[in-house]
């Protein structure tokens, strides 16, 4: 499968990417390319210009910051899952990333690409929202609660480039995913964390965009145990219904994955 023709540009810095974006406002940024290139091959996406930022050195790092972790937007999945810092501070994140795609995909895919794409069945958005992370761009900082706005859509504006994701280290956190047996995308994935500011529960795969479950958060604040979320009714309204599973099935999976995520969080703390 061959994409439509386009012109390729390689940026060496964020500054250069900004200049290129200003010159070609319709250009697409290319990160790891493992969502964009397949879409281009299927001719679902037809950018006239591609600006490759995957090799920008200033966007690739994992650092400790204020008791949490800051990850450069072009850091690959394999770098995140193998990072001692990530494993030490947020083991649930390392484990979530180890379930994305396969080893070859993880060598190319990036955290910034995943959050900017905001695929409704992607894993990363669950962790970003579930950990109350902040997304930094070349212009501003956006809290995760305001970042994911809908199916494949985000708060990013034209010309805006994701530069960093900063994740506060939680007291404990866990992720459980029911993977589609063929694609390994999340049919439903639930990320649970106990942070300094409270409990967060984020669900991916079930709806058109990652979302939080306030009822579960309240219940877990009273008792952080799998049983606390077991009896919370999940409405199938507005959940995805497709050849892989009905909305009712996904509603059931949200309960089951939430229980498993809480159990994983309890285990991770030890």
């Amino acid at each position: 499968m061959i994409p439509y023709p386009f012109t390729y540009h390689r940026a060496q810095s964020v500054k250069e990417a900004e200049t290129l974006l200003a010159r070609w406002p319709d250009a697409k940024l290319l990160a790891g390319g493992h969502s964009l290139i397949p879409a281009m091959k299927l001719r679902l996406s037809n950018p006239s210009e591609l600006i490759d930022i995957s090799g920008v050195p200033e966007l690739s790092y994992i650092r400790e910051r204020e008791g949490g972790i800051a990850i450069g937007a072009m850091t690959t999945h394999s770098e995140v899952m193998d990072s001692d810092l990530v494993r030490r501070h947020i083991p649930a994140l390392a484990s979530l990333v180890s379930e994305i795609g396969d080893p070859a995909v993880r060598h190319m895919g990036t955290i910034g690409g995943s959050v900017a794409n905001n695929d409704p069945a992607a894993d990363y958005p669950a962790a970003i929202l579930g950990l109350d992370a902040t997304i930094a761009t070349n212009r501003r900082s956006i809290p995760a609660d305001n970042f994911f706005t809908g199916m494949f859509s985000t708060a990013l504006e034209e010309g805006e480039i994701v530069t960093e994701i900063s994740l506060p280290a939680p007291k404990r956190s866990g992720y459980a995913k029911f993977a589609n047996p063929a694609s390994r995308y999340a049919m439903v994935g639930v990320f649970v964390s106990e942070t300094r500011t409270g409990i967060r529960v984020a669900v991916t795969g079930a709806g058109s965009c990652v979302f939080r479950m306030p009822e579960m958060e309240t219940a877990l604040a009273k008792s952080f145990a799998p049983e606390a979320v077991a009896s919370i009714p999940i409405s199938a309204d507005r959940l995805n219904s497709d050849i892989h599973g009905s909305a009712e099935y996904r509603a059931h999976l949200v309960s089951v994955m939430a229980k498993r995520a809480v159990a994983a969080a309890i285990e991770n703390r030890a």
Partner: protein, 158 residues
């Protein structure tokens, strides 16, 4: 058209390519290195896996222009001085192939896997093969071959 220059199997190669040329097409059609296969063409099957700067990637999901300046190793580049790579040897010894279509990708994935995890158990090997499909379903012997190759390589270079 863009001029790309990259090292493929330790040889420098230059060519003018359309920007939309995928790395797998550059390898197969421009360089005539047809050992790298196109299976699903949708980043699922792993028949097109090559090493890009030492790491396994799916060459159907990378543009040739992205690889400009990089170091690429394909199945044609793993045997040295007429001797099969230990992973190739192990695939032969353990009958790790039936029709052979997935084999180049399996071997490149195995080389990458052994580099990252020199000590491999069968369960880990199966997990690591997540992105490589064998339609003959000959996984059992593929796992045995990779397990044996990892042991042999650890023995040869402890």
């Amino acid at each position: 058209m863009t001029a790309v220059t990259l090292t493929v199997n330790a040889q420098q190669q230059s060519a003018d390519v359309e920007d939309r040329t995928l790395l797998v097409h550059f390898l197969r059609d421009t360089l005539r290195l047809t050992g790298t296969h196109i299976g699903c063409d949708t980043s699922q099957c792993g028949a097109c896996v090559v090493l890009l700067n030492g790491r396994a990637v799916k060459s159907c999901t990378v543009f040739a222009v992205q690889a400009s300046g990089a170091d690429v190793t394909t199945i044609e580049g793993v045997a040295k001085r007429g001797e099969l790579h230990p992973v190739q040897e192990a695939f032969r010894d353990h009958h790790g192939l039936q029709c052979g279509f997935c084999t180049p990708g399996m071997i490149m994935t195995a080389i990458d896997m052994i580099r990252r995890k020199p000590k491999l158990d069968r369960n880990t090997i199966r997990q690591e093969l997540e992105g490589n499909l064998c339609r003959c379903t000959g996984y059992h012997n593929i796992v045995s071959a990779i397990e044996a190759a990892a042991k042999e390589m650890a023995r040869a270079a402890p």
